[in-house]
């Protein structure tokens, strides 16, 4: 029982950061229909931004977080304007190839700039964990959970409650009609990609101090983000959040009670099961066929 409680606490912390990754990708992959291979590198980028601000500039940890998020937003906007805008209307394969190229180039760039040795980011939280009965959790992870929850609520409100969110949803439903209604479609494309990217950078910035920072850290994170998006249904934000916690739960319990060797395979197993039994995702609304 004690062990189960510990697994559940771990699941909450893990699920919160998966959700940031998942929401970011569901915006880009689910709504914009761009198979975004740079999502993992944006996660890595966020973590390196933390490293730069905290260690190389010597500034405060809590100041570094918004810096990393804004930097992620800017890099996302840059990718959209330089790589995706010229390809608008191109088929999904062309875009995918360009994104794979961008991913490899940026990852090699990170290796070139920072080297392969993993970096560790100091945090202002005490080393001793918070212990409640049989359950023990580090203060840093608790902070990450709350910061992630806050960002999830912000992202959700932005998309569902603001005018920008409405314009985004309208654009990706029918961009011609949206343009006719006076929506600046180009701006919406750029903002959506930038928001998705900044969420990935936020996840990296939050998890960088929890783990260590190295150029390939985003690869596994990206795979998980894709699993979450498929699980929750393309473009479904609530689905992505729930999907994140399901994935985290499957990993924790899978490793705890089945076999730890297959921990990271749980995500793929879930994708396969979902694709077989409910290919539109667990939380997709019923769609009209034909």
């Amino acid at each position: 029982m004690d062990q189960l409680l510990q697994h559940l606490v771990n699941m909450l912390v893990l699920g919160g950061t998966y959700a940031l990754l998942g929401i970011g990708l569901t915006l880009i992959f689910g709504i914009m229909n761009v198979v975004n291979f740079t999502h993992g590198i944006l996660y890595t980028f966020g973590a390196y931004m933390m490293f730069i601000v905290v260690h190389q500039l010597g500034l405060n940890f809590f100041f570094a977080l918004p810096v990393a998020i804004v930097a992620g937003w800017l890099l996302g906007a840059l990718i959209e304007i330089t790589l995706l805008r010229p390809l608008r209307g191109a088929d999904i394969d062309t875009t995918m190839l360009v994104m794979i190229g961008a991913w490899i180039a940026m990852q090699s760039g990170a290796l070139w700039i920072w080297g392969g040795v993993a970096k560790s980011i100091d945090n202002p939280f005490p080393d001793a964990p918070l212990v409640i009965g049989p359950v023990s959790v580090s203060w840093l992870r608790l902070f990450v959970l709350f910061a992630a929850a806050l960002l999830i609520v912000l992202a959700y409100s932005l998309i569902n409650l603001t005018k920008l969110g409405k314009a985004m949803r309208a654009t990706f439903q029918d961009s011609d009609t949206a343009a006719l209604m006076g929506v600046n479609v180009s701006l919406i494309y750029t903002s959506t990609f930038a928001i998705g990217s900044s969420l990935a950078a936020a996840a990296g910035a939050l998890l960088g101090p929890v783990y260590v920072v190295f150029p390939q850290m985003g690869d596994l994170a990206a795979v998980k983000a894709f699993a979450i998006v498929i699980l929750g249904g393309l473009g479904n934000i609530t689905g992505a959040v729930i999907g994140s916690f399901i994935l985290a739960l499957a990993e924790e319990l899978g490793a705890g009670y089945v076999s730890s060797g297959y921990r990271d395979a749980m995500g793929f197993l879930i994708i396969i099961m979902v694709l077989i039994f409910k290919p539109t995702g667990l939380f997709a609304r019923a769609e009209r066929v034909g």
């Binding site: 510990q6 080297g115 560790s120 959790v137 705890g256």
Partner: protein
């Protein structure tokens, strides 16, 4: 048209001939290491150590009147790539001997290529026992296989009063091989083996495995992984309040990096290591060790990398000794000469003994193994 093709092919032939004539001025040594991917940091350290050896040898006039040239290729921490790199080094660069390939899974993937092209490889880091017991006569290993580590550890399990042990190992040939060899030795000693948990080589969150280990009644955990994962494990174990004795194996721990990155979480952990850069006077070859560490620092590399890079240094010196002994840079002659060398390595004499099935034995050298402990952020040697 035909004339153009003929002219072009003649030119190509001439260029090929000229370039091979030009490269014949050097003796090539292939280096097959992970420079990107999960083991990028370690592989880069090994390559930098190899370069120090090559520069040292060339500064003294080279080998057989020629300079040596390292042909360094990245195997991307990926076994498929490691095999492709070996093929490229042998067939395109015509390297008569190679150094590689850091990880056990990487080395095992290269091994069939060695047989196919009859070219020897000095294995500098890998520790899965089966590398030198599977009957591949082209493998010459200078790092200790896990059964040698286990044998060295056997002498101290009584002192540590081990009773019940869990394992947390990387899920590849290295980790699983270590769990197997250590379990076997411990069972003979009457120690109970509890859980054997594994983790993917790129996994970053081991909380689930650690929570499971926390709940058992064992007092010790044996952990096998490379330095980056160890750092994470120590931090996560501390966060979970795991209070068991931790002993790591495999020689890729970089204790200085662990202290720098895991901080207090690294205290009281023990590590089986194969080099003592912190106390050169206690190494088998203090003079060479001091020279190597001095050169390493002079080049501005991170001191923490010494525990990895010395293997690249020793590996190239081993290969150089064999080329010298062979008297020619040809694969068959170098392979035969590897059996006859005696190199003063930084971690004991490098002499290859036969290992594996009769008729197709691999070469295995038996370096020293040490147990160190991190106490209040300092490295302390434990007597074995």
């Amino acid at each position: 048209m035909i004339r153009t093709i003929k002219a072009a092919s003649a030119t190509a032939l001439a260029i090929a001939f000229l370039s091979s004539a030009a490269t014949a001025q050097t003796i090539k040594i292939g280096v097959n290491e992970p420079l990107t991917g999960a083991f990028a940091a370690s592989g880069t350290y090994v390559v930098n150590g190899a370069k120090i050896a090559a520069d040292e040898i060339n500064a003294k006039g080279g080998l057989l009147g020629k300079k040596i040239e390292l042909v360094i290729e990245d195997n991307k921490s990926n076994p498929t790539e490691a095999a492709a790199v070996a093929e490229k080094l042998i067939t395109r660069d015509k390297t008569p001997v190679m150094l590689g390939a850091w990880g056990s899974s990487l080395t095992l993937a290269v091994m069939p290529k060695l047989v196919e092209y009859e070219t020897a490889m000095v294995v500098e880091t890998s520790s899965a026992s089966k590398i030198t017991t599977s009957g591949n006569p082209y493998v010459f290993r200078i790092s200790p296989p896990s059964f040698v580590e286990a044998a060295a550890f056997k002498n101290i399990v009584d002192k540590l009063a081990l009773k019940k042990v869990d394992f947390l190992v990387i899920n590849n040939d290295w980790g699983r091989g270590t769990a197997e060899d250590f379990s076997k030795m411990m069972k003979e000693k009457g120690i109970t083996i509890g859980l054997v948990e594994t983790m993917d080589q790129s996994a970053q969150d081991m909380s689930a495995q650690l929570a499971k280990i926390k709940a058992t009644d064992s007092e010790t955990v044996i952990i096998t992984a490379a330095v980056d994962q160890l750092t994470l494990i120590f931090k996560q174990a501390a966060a979970l309040g795991l209070k068991k004795r931790i002993i790591t194996t495999g020689g890729s721990q970089n204790p200085d990096q662990i202290i720098a990155q895991a901080g207090a979480a690294a205290n009281d952990t023990m590590h089986l290591t194969t080099f003592l850069p912190w106390m050169p006077e206690k190494t088998p070859n203090p003079e060479a060790t001091t020279y190597f560490i001095g050169e390493w620092k002079k080049r501005g590399f991170d001191f923490a990398g010494c525990t990895e890079s010395f293997r690249g240094y020793d590996g190239i010196r081993t290969i150089a000794a064999a080329i010298e002994k062979a008297g020619k840079a040809e694969p068959a002659a170098i392979k035969d000469a590897l059996w006859k060398i005696d190199v003063k390595g930084l971690n004991g004499d490098i002499v290859f003994k036969k290992s594996g099935p009769a008729g197709s034995e691999s070469g295995q050298s038996f370096p020293n193994v040490y147990l160190i402990e991190i106490t209040s952020g300092k490295i302390v040697m434990k007597d074995l």
